[in-house]
Symmetry: C2
Amino acid sequence: MIYVVIPAGGSGTRLWPLSRAGHPKFLHPFTGTSASLLQATVERLGPLTTPERTMVVTGAAHAAAVARQLTGLPEENILVEPSPRDSCAAIALAAAVIAVRDPDAVMGSFAADHLIGDPQRWVDTVREAVRGAEQGLLMTVGITPTRPETGYGYLRTGEPVDGGPMRPVLEFKEKPSAEVADTYLRSGHYLWNAGMFVWRVSAFLAELARQQPDLHAGVTTIAAAWHSDEQDDVLGAVWPTLTKISVDYAVMEGAAAAGRVATVPGDFRWNDVGDFHTLGEVLSADPDGNVVLASDAKTEVLLHDSSGMVVAPQAGRLVAAVGVRDLIVVDTEDALLVCPRDRAQDVKSIVDELKRRGAEKLV
Amino acid sequence: MIYVVIPAGGSGTRLWPLSRAGHPKFLHPFTGTSASLLQATVERLGPLTTPERTMVVTGAAHAAAVARQLTGLPEENILVEPSPRDSCAAIALAAAVIAVRDPDAVMGSFAADHLIGDPQRWVDTVREAVRGAEQGLLMTVGITPTRPETGYGYLRTGEPVDGGPMRPVLEFKEKPSAEVADTYLRSGHYLWNAGMFVWRVSAFLAELARQQPDLHAGVTTIAAAWHSDEQDDVLGAVWPTLTKISVDYAVMEGAAAAGRVATVPGDFRWNDVGDFHTLGEVLSADPDGNVVLASDAKTEVLLHDSSGMVVAPQAGRLVAAVGVRDLIVVDTEDALLVCPRDRAQDVKSIVDELKRRGAEKLV
């Protein structure tokens, strides 16, 4: 049984107007069932860990919602960030808290807002990664790419170790251009970086101390005060001083350069549910290829001579369409979105414009 | 000063979900101003008639709304049909009531739900038609066609009389196929039938007596009891027995065959506001060609990289679109419609489907 941290942050602006700053992506049931992405993430951890060893790191604004969605989790396992400090601080705090309790612990870090189509295969892959972590490596689970995707970062990998599935990660690559993504895909040496990590807390903290000594000192100080009367005071004093940086950039890239990162390629129908088009690809469609994301069964949808639609009728009203193809229609109480599926990435521009206009209530 | 009857019926199903059975097209401000189509119709009659000589024939369900929109009209000039009996009964009742008051009267009949871009020119054209009516002809105002429209009926006309604008109407033609409409347009002998009529009530009632003797007898009986204690009893008893038939089919086609119909071609930017595409053509657009039909100024519309849209944000919510072209988006409290402009005619199919499902509340 490993320890697990689930960083639950990010608002998912490309899923606006469903996903909002106040009710972000991971709290939504974008799973085809009534479970939220966060709940589905915890459920699929069942074979790997226990609720006592599972921690969620989330923002103050979402702590209550997380606590209510994850009733099986001990209260003290919901770590509340006083302010957003990016993924390195969140994951490092969890690692430091776990290390106090069990210095030899292996921990995994898995995003709260991804979908996995084949959970059993995912568990098997993580178990392979645990074996690498037990050897002292910082492991990532890379995704075997299926298309020249420009929206993800990539892992450049070396030759498999001992004929097994594990391979060294030579380099972390930023989101590529379409041309570069194409060469990555053809080469067979690149995996998608899905931000899934497995390591011994001691190995991770050692790398953190080497590359980000201030961050290491900060989370060590906070962890030392954890479960004491001073927990909140120390957290409140130290947290705002921590560097705002992603774990990839702060630790993993440097560790890869030092030969300390390896990966196990995964092929378990992973999806980051980044936008409504992707969501439409993952969830089950009717015979016309229309996907309806209904919050309740009473909502009526009337799609006449329409196909390839992604419709989210979340305001209890009739949504009627005639003669439309491959369109996203998201209907909420205070905002409506209409957008072609191939422009799903640009939904972010609406959120940007609303922020510019000061319409914070709608963001 | 002529008499005028405005038949205010028809629900405008192609303008669903704005136009409903309970709140039909003519009550809506589809005019680019705050005036409803009905109010605009009465306003443009100003130079031709007086409120005392203006009658509206409408269904029982809309009598109150009509009365409130037309505060200048005498109460007794709002004729309420006990049940829908199509246009011949409505117009014939008005003609019979007017004939009791003034047997030599000239009356016009103009739909409640059309838009006219150049009201002064329209008035001039109607005045030409009045001259024909004074000669005993049943006059129609035909519209000079600008495209091979398949959605309207046509008038086949003869050579101009005495070099004036007036021409005999040889035949009423049903809505044609695209091919036939094209030959109509090229020939120069066809006009659109816009359902605008001008005649002496005596001439119309004589033709009605000749072609539809039962209908004539019925409305004569009702008109004889008009303004008496028995008005409601007689109306209630006789009205349901009247033939349900359009005035074109019941009277005008036969009168044309008998050489008693003439027309004055009109060129005053007439529009029947039949669907949202047409509405988008008529109302003023922003530089990107987007037309917004807002019920109040507070409604926000955010059209990002979108053009040619017809948007009706009538639920007080933000309507946001990204990367869409030539789409109709109509947002009301209980129903949302999304449809391409070139499928605007097919909105009717949604209404048909809702009726089939028994969702009368939404129709």
